[in-house]
């Protein structure tokens, strides 16, 4: 047991060091340096939120577009960007594996953690700023936002493992089709719709993606009772659990493959 905790401590330190390394290698030390980690998504989210709400539409089906786009965009970017970063991560960091204490899982976890933390920071900061500046209404239920967001983070973790391992196993085929696939997932996950707007016969298909459930939860937290949320926490949780399991199994196979090579 003590050995386990010692190993865990080492692993945490390794992950921390990898995160720092990632920050430095990605953004360097020039100008604002690692702050780009936050600034980049902030510019993007603020941009799309304003373009959608002030140029395209102010309201859709009686809902303020700013809140709608802000929640949808950032939530779906969270899990999709994370997995695409992780996918690109293993190949780029292969030389690091020559260190005895650095394992592929550390590379994965460090990238996932970094991405999730950055997006969460952006989500909180922008939420705070938007509410303070009356761009969006104050949330109705923090519980739903928090729960939806954490489930989304978990999805990001499981999905990253799954997709990155699949990519390694299929010799980078996933990465080649990733553009259209991620766009499809981005749209299909409800960035631009609420489940209640869909015709009833399509709703069950939309609700196959756990991200739709999570996003419905987050949006319900913001909109409150003016919307009809369609979510199932147990579905989202079990999907995440299953995906994480599959992801880890595939990850094992992928590391075997990498080691052989």
């Amino acid at each position: 047991m003590r050995d386990f905790f010692r190993s865990l401590k080492i692993q945490l330190r390794v992950i921390y060091a990898l995160m720092m390394r990632e920050i430095i290698t990605r953004y360097g030390r020039e100008n604002i340096g690692f702050l780009w980690l936050f600034v980049e998504p902030i510019i993007l989210i603020v941009g799309v939120t304003f373009i959608w709400s002030y140029i395209v539409h102010r309201e859709a089906h009686g809902f303020p577009v700013a809140t709608f786009i802000y929640t949808g965009w950032i939530s779906n970017k969270l899990w999709l960007t994370t997995s695409s970063r992780v996918m690109a991560g293993l190949q780029a960091n292969l030389p690091l594996l020559y260190h005895r204490n650095i394992k592929p899982i550390d590379i994965f976890l460090s990238r996932i953690l970094l991405e999730i933390t950055a997006m969460t920071g952006v989500f909180m900061l922008l939420g705070f700023v938007f509410v303070m500046s009356h761009v969006i209404e104050p949330p109705h239920s923090y519980f739903h936002i928090v729960l939806g967001w954490y489930l989304m983070c978990w999805l990001a973790l499981g999905f990253s493992f799954f997709v990155a391992s699949l990519n390694t196993l299929t010799n980078d085929i996933v990465q080649k089709v990733w553009g259209p696939v991620s766009l499809g997932l981005f749209i299909g996950s409800g960035t631009f719709f609420l489940v209640e707007w869909l015709p009833p016969e399509i709703r069950p298909y939309a609700l196959l993606l756990p991200s739709v459930h999570n996003l419905e939860m987050i949006r319900y937290g913001f909109f409150g009772n003016q919307m009809h949320p369609y979510y199932d926490i147990s579905y989202s949780t079990s999907f995440n659990l299953f995906l994480t399991f599959i992801g880890l199994v595939m990850f094992r196979l992928a590391t075997e493959k990498v080691r052989v090579e």
Binding site: I23, L37, T117, A118, T120, V146
Partner: protein, 368 residues
């Protein structure tokens, strides 16, 4: 070593202390809140919001449909200062919600900074009553929060009563304004006709005529007869003068002819004289009659409009129905302690993660 201590302190400040405070507040300090809930639906004939005139068709058929605008009207009324003051009068709202029995976060104006009604109105709309509309079914949910179940229950019952009263008042007002207007118009035109008929009557009695055309006819036939007689007398005179110029009947005939002429002239002057002749009376009477006809038409039209308004007023009516009656809650449902504690922990934990990352990023700079 220093790093670890700092990290621990950060975690303590951002995560442990808020979560612990949250636990203490939610489990030990927070006043249990009873929530009383009721559901009503506001209906109108045909709904009115349906596209393509379907609403008015259904309305004409007498189909009752949930009315969104009606629902918003009632919701706005419940969350108005007007209703707040009514409740204040009856239930002493402000006193109740500023009572010391409330915990400091739930209490109204806990530090006596702004006890104004404007401030209390904010509190009232945020913490005392909650209303929301289910746009799919048109059901309006009304919730009231209080620290005793009875108080919440009574307050909610009063609110339901107030909304019913409000709907009735809106109905009455809507039908009244339109109906009242058309009724007034109708009465006005009726009065005009009556007055005008009076004028015609006065005219007829003053001028001592009943029906100028017929009278003219009679007079003309009299004139014709007299003229006939005049012509025969004139013929007689001319024959008599040609046969016997000295005939003693001649002067008499001449007198008779003169008389007849005079008679005819007087009759004719009765028909077409300057003043008080039948011709002028008849023209005047024609004008009066035309005007009377016009006024009668006006009455007809106003009556039509009035009847239509009566139907329309019926169509505009809102109806309020209670879907779920208020029930006296038998257990406090707030605060949702587990939920709140989880939220505090989750948010502070995320905040800690982000801040640690930021700090670590900054440290990277100095280590060089």
């Amino acid at each position: 070593m220093l790093k670890r201590v700092n990290a621990g302190a950060l975690f303590l400040i951002i995560v442990v202390i808020p979560t612990f405070t949250g636990i203490v507040y939610n489990l030990l300090i927070a006043t249990p809140v009873y929530v009383s809930e009721a559901k009503v639906v506001i209906k109108s004939l045909g709904g009115g919001e349906m596209p393509g005139g379907l609403g008015s068709l259904l309305g004409a058929l007498g189909v009752l449909q949930p009315s969104t605008s009606g629902a918003y009207l009632v919701m706005d009324h419940i969350r108005s200062r007007d209703v707040m003051f009514r409740l204040e009068e009856k239930f002493k709202l402000k006193e109740y919600y500023s009572s010391e029995e409330w915990d400091i976060l739930r209490r109204f104006d806990p530090f006596h900074l702004d006890p104004s009604y404007e401030n209390f109105y904010k509190y009232y709309t945020k913490k005392v009553v909650e209303t929301f509309l289910d746009t799919n079914s048109g059901v309006v949910t009304i919730r009231v929060r209080a620290k005793d179940p009875d108080y919440a229950f009574k307050l909610l019952k009063e609110l339901i009563y107030i909304s019913e009263e409000f709907v009735n008042r809106v109905n009455k007002r809507a039908s009244m304004t339109a109906l009242e207007y058309y009724r007034e118009q109708l009465e006005l035109s009726k009065k005009k006709v009556r007055e005008f008929a009076q004028r015609v009557k006065r005219f007829l009695t003053e001028k001592r005529v009943v029906s100028p055309e017929q009278e003219v006819g009679v007079l003309l036939s009299m004139v014709a007869e007299l003229q006939g007689r005049l012509i025969s007398k004139q013929l007689e005179l001319s024959t008599v003068t040609s046969v016997a110029p000295e005939n003693p009947r001649i002067p008499q005939l001449r007198r008779e002819i003169d008389q007849l002429k005079e008679e005819i002239n007087s009759l004719l002057s009765k028909i077409t004289g300057k003043k008080d002749s039948l011709a002028t009376h008849s023209v005047e009477l024609e004008l009066l009659k035309a005007e009377l006809l016009m006024l009668q038409k006006e009455v007809e039209m106003n009556l039509g409009a009035f009847l239509q308004a009566q139907n329309q007023a019926h169509l505009q009516h809102l109806f309020i129905e209670t879907v779920e009656r208020p029930i006296r809650p038998d257990a406090p449902t707030e605060p949702k302690a587990a939920r709140n504690i989880f939220v505090i922990f989750a948010i502070s934990f995320a905040l800690w993660g982000v801040i640690s990352l930021l700090i670590a990023g900054v440290r990277e700079h100095t280590e060089e």
